[in-house]
Symmetry: C3
Subunit: 364 residues, 3 copies
């Protein structure tokens, strides 16, 4: 559905593929008629793509969508191409044969995302409030009503969105995109090519309190959070995600980490390179997560744990001890109809008794 370029500005398929880096394409099978080297003005899902759009198929289970698509070109796996080449009637669309169709789709999407951008005006909007001691590269764009605090250092090509607030002494590396309405506390350090979505809060105080009975029975005294927050290169941080600064040392997000929306990373955590965490997951304080982990949505990782590299945590799973072996870990109560759940959940409170009774029977 999203036609991204007017057809008269759009490339031919052959031109488009020439512009895509990486040598991913094995071969192109021309389509029929107008689709022998079609205009590609955008990308669409198989069922929705129109005659000026390319699409892709990553799995044979979607083959029936292929039968009905109106797309001009489809990226296909070699094995699907082989299937199609043996069909009695050849499909109208052109076939782009590729071992990694999802990656090729990503690269084409990146190309369209770049091609559709209007030339960006490089300017600091006059309504933005930039402290005179802040240092901005000349190619930095600052949106309306953004605030940049004292002694910030903003590197080349950075875009700061409308209404975003940077405290004092914040460092932002080259080519970062900070979307509107982000809050970044004092002293946070951000690498290059980082994307931060709206509503994210970076470097707020960790949750640190010491019981202080001198104030009142049960009262808590605040532990000032003196550490910082350091974010590597190529990180993406989703909307309304929060990452707290460290209590004494730094909270660290390593290179290439991808964080979805509404994630909570507590103080003193370290998230390893290329780890991806889906929405609404919470990581409690002082936990270290290794490299290349995948944490699915709404998971919870307790505090003071170490999770090794290459761990996959399923959605909704709570991790409560160290994980020392790569692999997939899960722990969710299976859902059922409410009445079935009532029957079975009631037995949970008797499990240890049931085990004893079972043992007793076995001994008899």
């Amino acid at each position: 559905m999203p036609v991204l370029l007017a057809p008269e500005r759009a490339p031919l398929l052959s031109q488009l593929l020439k512009a895509i880096p990486g040598g991913l394409v094995q071969k192109v099978v021309p389509g029929t008629g107008q689709f022998s080297d079609p205009i590609v003005a955008g990308l669409g899902a198989l069922p929705a793509a129109g005659q000026h759009e390319a699409s892709f198929i990553v799995h044979p289970k979607y083959l029936e969508q292929l039968a009905i698509t109106k797309a001009a070109a489809v990226i296909v796996l070699p094995e699907i191409d082989e299937l199609l080449s043996q069909a009695p009637v050849q499909p109208a669309y052109a076939r782009v044969v590729c071992k990694h169709p999802y990656l090729l789709y990503a690269r084409i999407a990146q190309w369209f995302d770049w091609a559709r951008q209007p030339a960006r005006e490089i300017s600091v909007h006059p309504s933005a409030v930039v402290d005179p001691t802040a240092i901005l590269a000349s190619s930095v764009t600052v949106g309306p009503l953004a605030v940049i605090g004292a002694r910030c250092v903003i590197d080349a090509m950075v875009q700061i969105g409308a209404g975003t607030v940077l405290g004092a002494d914040v460092k932002v590396g080259a080519s970062c995109v900070i979307h509107p309405r982000v809050a970044i506390y004092d002293g946070v350090q951000i690498g290059a090519r980082v994307i931060v979505h709206s509503g994210a809060v970076l470097g707020a105080d960790g949750f640190g309190f010491a019981p202080d009975p001198s104030l009142a029975k049960g009262a808590w005294g605040k532990i000032p959070q003196l550490g910082g927050l350091v974010i590597g290169n190529d990180v993406e941080i989703g909307a309304n995600t929060t990452i707290d600064r460290g209590a004494l040392e730094n909270t660290v997000i390593e290179d290439g980490v991808k964080l979805d929306n509404q994630i909570m990373i507590a103080h003193n955590c370290r998230i390893g390179t290329h780890t991806a965490i889906a929405a609404c997951t919470a990581v409690a304080g002082s936990t270290t997560i290794g490299a290349r982990c995948t944490i699915a949505g709404a998971a919870g990782i307790a505090g003071h744990l170490t999770i090794c590299d290459d761990v996959f945590v399923s959605g909704g799973t709570g991790i409560t001890t160290d994980v020392t072996e790569p692999g997939r870990y899960t722990g969710v109560f299976p859902f059922a109809t409410h009445s079935e759940w009532q029957r079975n959940a009631a037995v949970i409170s008797q499990l240890s008794v049931m085990r004893k009774r079972l043992r007793k029977l076995e001994r008899e």
Copy 2:
């Protein structure tokens, strides 16, 4: 407790009920003394309502609160009215008899909410930054330091709160209320009479990445999110809720959907008409939820699922497969004292073995 109007500006009960649409009231039983047709200056809960306030009772289990209330008038079910009419001493308060007391209370609250509003000044605050290419109906109110991007179209009677940021090409239908500090990304389309609370982020990028080993082992390449976000009429969106734009096609929130705070709706989802979702629920990508569903708080719906119409998901429940039958679904681990939990949870890891041992005993 909330007296919303000064008593001298407040209506008599009879005047108030005349102003409420819908023919909900069956009859009014006058109270005693000053409450024969009392002044109603506000609404209160039964235990807290004062002599200038109306209250309501939706269930006989609250009858004892009725004995002590100081309210001037109480909305009651017909069966409660009958009980009361047979009592030896008639209560002081007036009784408004109605089959749907909760709905009548909602309508009276709506009346007071309207009556207490000061006349709203229609104006674009001089500190707001409105792109000259944006089109605002003359009855639009824009708060201080709001930002409205290029080519936005804002329909009649819309209120945009202070510090809210609209990207480019955003459409907002008539009579919407966008509260302060909302972020709306480029191209988001919003229907009429939609309410968006502070901190909501609409149309941020979905979480889309393709493994790209050419960058580094385990590295992710960004998939630009080229789809949009379309929100129907009469939707309400809670504080700090995030709804992502689609990857290729649109994320769609249909008419009448009500979303509480801190909800996450991932890219490519479709939420059906009049579905209500309570706080902190997460819906993963490409999931379709039917019409008139109720999802309680902190639930999680996995991605690529279809939930049919009229499904009720209990709080904290994780839905991991399609739901094809209306009804209530639940799946939470029942809580207990920690020591009891320790005893019983330990048995979980032996359940499949226990089942085998049980079978063996049965065969013997």
Copy 3:
């Protein structure tokens, strides 16, 4: 690692301890050489602290870190001091002996946090939009592009961060720190010394709807939220946390409550004094939580419940009934490898049948 003061501005250990209130220190054992009364320019964790920093040890399990620390001084429990005093070689660092090392650390961190602050300029930034009817004490600081609505009353020494929006009739008590980009709705009342972090939304509408079939099948009519939100003294509210206003009466957060990030407190709740709630916990509507409770992260408390004083809820636990006895409560599905989980979770749906089969065997 965080050296907070230049060594030439930093105090000697003896001077520092004199500045700390509370008589917490039992004795000081001088270190060797330059550490007999060392300069203390900051605080660090044991493994990271340098020669100008103090550190602390709260538990004997960290004794091995003590062997390698380079800290100038370490806060130790009396029993650890005794161990050390019997060692053949005395450590280089000075020992500050104290029964409550964590509290002493908190107090020293507070001192450094105060000492490192540059003198704060008291001023209302010219870009802030302050309604002429708002009343601000002369010692109030208002950041750039903040918005303060009509008839707000802001007490002495309050700091309002950049981009924060206060609606009309908001009251903020003395010495509060409202960080940048907070949204506070009309009429919210905040006590003294409250800290609110970025992205928090205070006083948005509760999630209240009445089924209104007159609009459409399954449609919801809005119940205006006429109550308020009252926050006591010494409360801390984390980043992106949301607390809704009451439907009729007030939502109440009592004195000394500490709320972490991304917490959701629904309408009509009351949270008792000194209760601490960790990140991502959700409390549904009309629930009352007692004093001195500790709710760990990602817990969920259902609506219309009463939790008594001194309750500890474990992380990820869903509380679904009243809790009337102090103690620790837990309810999470234990995680395992995915394949183990598959085997055991599948048995959950047969638990009630298994119990019956067990009974039958026992009777035989």
